[in-house]
Symmetry: C2
Subunit: 289 residues, 2 copies
Amino acid sequence: MPDLPILPDPKDPHLTRAVRAVDQQGAARDIRVVEERPLTIYLNSQEVVTSMTIGDYPEYLAVGYLRNQGMLLDEDVLTGVDFDAEVETVVVRTERTTDYEDKLKRKTRTSGCAVGTVFGDMMEGLEGLVLPETTVRTSHLYALAHQINTAPSLYLEAGAIHGTVLCQADKPLVFMEDVGRHNAVDKIAGWMRMTGVSGADKLLYTTGRLTSEMVIKTALMGIPVLASRSGFTAWGVEIAQQIGLTLIGRMRGQRFLCLAGDERLVRDADLSSVADEPKGRVRKGSRGG
Amino acid sequence: MPDLPILPDPKDPHLTRAVRAVDQQGAARDIRVVEERPLTIYLNSQEVVTSMTIGDYPEYLAVGYLRNQGMLLDEDVLTGVDFDAEVETVVVRTERTTDYEDKLKRKTRTSGCAVGTVFGDMMEGLEGLVLPETTVRTSHLYALAHQINTAPSLYLEAGAIHGTVLCQADKPLVFMEDVGRHNAVDKIAGWMRMTGVSGADKLLYTTGRLTSEMVIKTALMGIPVLASRSGFTAWGVEIAQQIGLTLIGRMRGQRFLCLAGDERLVRDADLSSVADEPKGRVRKGSRGG
């Protein structure tokens, strides 16, 4: 397992582009914007999905997507993950045909598209799931938020992007960003799958909202704690409570709210040493999408 | 056409739920969070997709989704839009079987899932598209932003939600919110399709990011101007430039950036009369997702 964190590379010329804008007073301004490109994911010979992505770590994205959709099981042996930049495809190869390829072929014949099916399958995977009884120090939460918010990132470079970070104690390990709503977390899942790293002693931090899908994905990655600057949906909260996942949101400066699994929290932080953030009074939109 | 705007109903008990949270100091707090529920959309007897939605205006969402995906054409005659709250389905019925049902059945047999196909189809619809040569007064832009940001909304009530507003001159006409990334704009498209309202003299305002898909959807709805508080992706900008759509982003207080179609803008606003908003220094996450 690598001991240095994986971080976004804001200077990678494939990830942002300079464009000319005109401001409110008619003055020309050059700004950098993030790229967005299609990536088609295959499982062996079966085309599965075309996802819009910023384009870094395509192999992790493909493996993580298939793993998070339940199409690639823990017992499946990966024999190759081949990215072709020219035709924008990743082919994930397994030793034997996976169970899911047949399922996908069969189900799509009757239901038109696998979207509903996939969602159903994801919920099923939660039955009997037991997340480890770890603890989370609030001093670590604040330390993580500070490191993540000040790390070099595509968000600071160009905005309009989501970030997700796999953390252990007070250390960020893998920091992924993407334009696609769930691509950042899928890339983390792919990294975990390909390096064999367990989620049991980890925390997942995301800049996005805590929806049902984020909660389900985190739980299925075996990670017992999910934290975010953003808010919650009711179903996200309900699922977290049912499966015993610690759900922390609206983390801003000193403030946060814990909506489920509060028993894991150890409130050891000296709040007087944590910088507070003024409470927002207006709509904030820079993370929208 | 109704002359009163359609607005979110933050007090609708089906759209938010009270949940108990614990804050950073261990104090219990009751907060409201938005609901999120699955809605399965059928086109006649063909199941098309299951979408996660807040649950209001399901008929507009279904019709708008099918219309924006190119599955429901302008010449298709709607004979019924039936929402069943019990089983969380909407069935959109057309006079004759649409072209798309056959297409979906055929294509999914070979490609596994229609996602890639749908995306390809959406790009195709842009060829030959000409958007009307309208003008946009910046005084109207500022007036719209002010009205939208202060209107009663689920965002102000519970956060963690996206908003999209169909506007005409300086008047918001239809204000839709949803947890799903593109549901809010699909609901607008459904309202336009079912009421027969044209996009030619309209502006679309969104709280989300200006990605390729948002730009494509706006253009296919015949709306020549798209504005947002959020940022841009490179492909979103590129497509807007190619098809001549006016793309305005990062609207905060007095500031905004126009990335395409600047020739439609009439800078008539007296900037000294527009309240400015302090430039953000920290990550903002309340719109994430």
